[in-house]
């Protein structure tokens, strides 16, 4: 999507108004001469004076501004803020990935430690020409352990999440009323009035406060409406133009979650086999049964959390689209579904954390028993 060149539209619009008011002065004067209403008469202060011309041009300016900008395009920041918050919450996925990476690392390191050559793959290679270059041997041997790939997946996902958060925060900034703060427009009106007052004063005329106020209101609301409208147009264009990228990004994030899910399942079944072997080898049957249950509880809680994450990602893409459509139709988009899903993610993370803590405590007790 290509954004219009900076300020071009607004410049064109303002200059159109300015030049219209200046070049049509004679024509305007004729129309005012033919006007018999009290309102028209009151505008004419002194026939042929430049003050009259100025006030005529101001009225035309006001009419033009009012006609050209019939409605003010308000943008509600709230959905954008909620969207930004939701995008931020999704980063909590790190918690789930970390514990999974740790379990994969423990298993793989145990396997690696069985063979000296495999251990040596964890060493670094250096470059005689590039003094500070290094590379793990497992890269050249194409034997990078899964836990290292998972670390890279985690940081890649964190990076993409951070960039997406930046995007949602920029959208919220663009939707923020502070960007087009009324104070800025009041300042414009005040400068316009000052220009006019000084002009009237230099010509020996007192400023008509009510007329200046009318001018100020018209110019102020028109300029505000114009910029609000333009901002709304930008938001619609940006959201529509980026929908495909957002969809693809969300699908990529969901793919990462699927990868974690597959990894969790693989590790779960591996530990199931290990426990089965321990059982066959005459290990403590009750302890093995408890470990079976514990593994299942952790895996179930992880799956619930991953599903909650997956649903939230899907809702982010949907909400992004919904905000754009609602904006186009002058409706207020609902972000309640997204808020509900975020709450679910937070709940699932708490549950998983509790189950992991419970498992850790049980393992500690079992280790103490075994040592005693």
């Amino acid at each position: 999507m290509k954004i219009e060149s900076k300020g071009r539209q607004f410049c064109h619009f303002v200059f159109l108004v300015v030049t219209s008011t200046l070049t049509n002065k004679e024509k305007n004067m004729k129309s005012f001469k033919n006007c018999n209403t009290e309102k028209c008469k009151s505008i004419i202060i002194r026939p042929g004076s430049s003050v009259k011309k100025r006030q005529t041009s101001m009225s035309i300016l006001g009419v033009l501004l009012t006609v050209l900008l019939p409605s003010c395009a308000n943008v509600d920041r709230q959905p954008f803020t909620e969207f930004n918050n939701a995008a931020y919450e999704i980063t909590t996925i790190d918690n789930a990935v970390d514990s999974h990476i740790l379990s994969v690392k423990q298993r793989e390191m145990a396997e690696i430690s069985m063979d000296l050559l495999t251990i040596n793959n964890l060493a670094l290679d250096f470059d005689v020409d590039d003094l500070y270059k290094y590379e793990y041997k497992f890269v050249r041997a194409a034997k990078e352990p899964l836990f290292i790939k998972l670390h890279r997946l985690n940081s890649g996902l964190t990076d993409l999440n951070a960039l997406f958060i930046e995007y949602t925060s920029l959208l919220a900034a663009l939707a923020d009323d502070e960007l087009i703060a009324p104070e800025d427009f009041d300042q414009l009106s005040s400068e316009l009035n000052n220009n006019l007052r000084s002009g009237l004063k230099s010509l020996g005329q007192g400023a008509d406060a009510s007329r200046l106020a009318l001018f100020s209101t018209v110019a102020n609301s028109a300029a505000h409406a114009y910029i609000s409208n333009k901002r709304k147009g930008y938001l619609i264009d940006i959201i529509e133009g980026n929908q495909k990228t957002v969809d693809a990004l969300i699908a990529h994030a969901q793919e990462a979650i699927e990868n974690i899910r597959n990894g969790v399942l693989d590790e779960y079944d591996r530990s199931r086999r290990t426990l089965m072997e321990q059982f066959e080898a005459g290990g403590n049957k009750e302890t093995i049964a408890y470990k079976f249950l514990m593994n299942s509880e952790i895996t179930a809680a992880t799956f619930d959390m991953l599903k909650a994450m997956n649903d939230t990602y899907a809702s982010l893409a949907k909400t992004h689209k919904k905000i754009g459509t609602s904006l186009k139709n002058d409706q207020l988009p609902s972000v309640n579904e997204l808020k509900g899903l975020i709450k679910n993610v937070q709940k699932r993370i708490k549950v998983l954390k509790k189950i992991n803590e419970k498992a850790d405590r049980k393992e500690e007790i079992a280790a103490k028993r075994a040592s005693s």
């Binding site: 995007y167 960007l179 000084s198 901002r231 990868n259 990894g263």
Partner: protein, 115 residues
């Protein structure tokens, strides 16, 4: 070489096969059919090795796309920032036009005084 979607699909199927095969292995052991369980166990070991490799391939597929996304979202953000700046510029432009209108008024006043 299969695409990332195919790899993921194959991985999911293999994981499902492994999960069910372990159930069968446990059943054989509990039935006392140790030899059969051992044979099945060997096949599950091979399956585990294939799954481990495929997990690596799927992760590589995912990682290969990260840079492209990084660039795309970076462009998206630059675009929104440009819109924010543009709106700010409009307000500045309006200020400049207000000043310009003042100058034009001054010029008209001066002309009125002269003529």
């Amino acid at each position: 070489m299969p695409g990332s979607n195919t790899n993921r699909r194959i991985l999911r199927i293999l994981l499902d096969i492994k999960n069910k095969a372990i159930d069968a292995e446990i059943k054989l052991l509990s039935d006392g059919k140790t030899a059969d369980a051992e044979k099945l166990g060997e096949r599950i070991d091979k399956l585990e090795y294939t799954i481990q490799k495929l997990r690596g391939v799927v992760l590589d597929d995912w990682l290969a796309k990260v840079d492209g996304f990084r660039t795309k979202i970076g462009q998206m953000n630059a675009e929104v920032q440009e819109a924010v700046d543009d709106i700010k510029d409009d307000i500045k432009t309006a200020e400049r036009v207000v000043k310009l209108m003042g100058y034009i008024d001054d010029a008209v006043e001066l002309a009125a005084k002269v003529f």
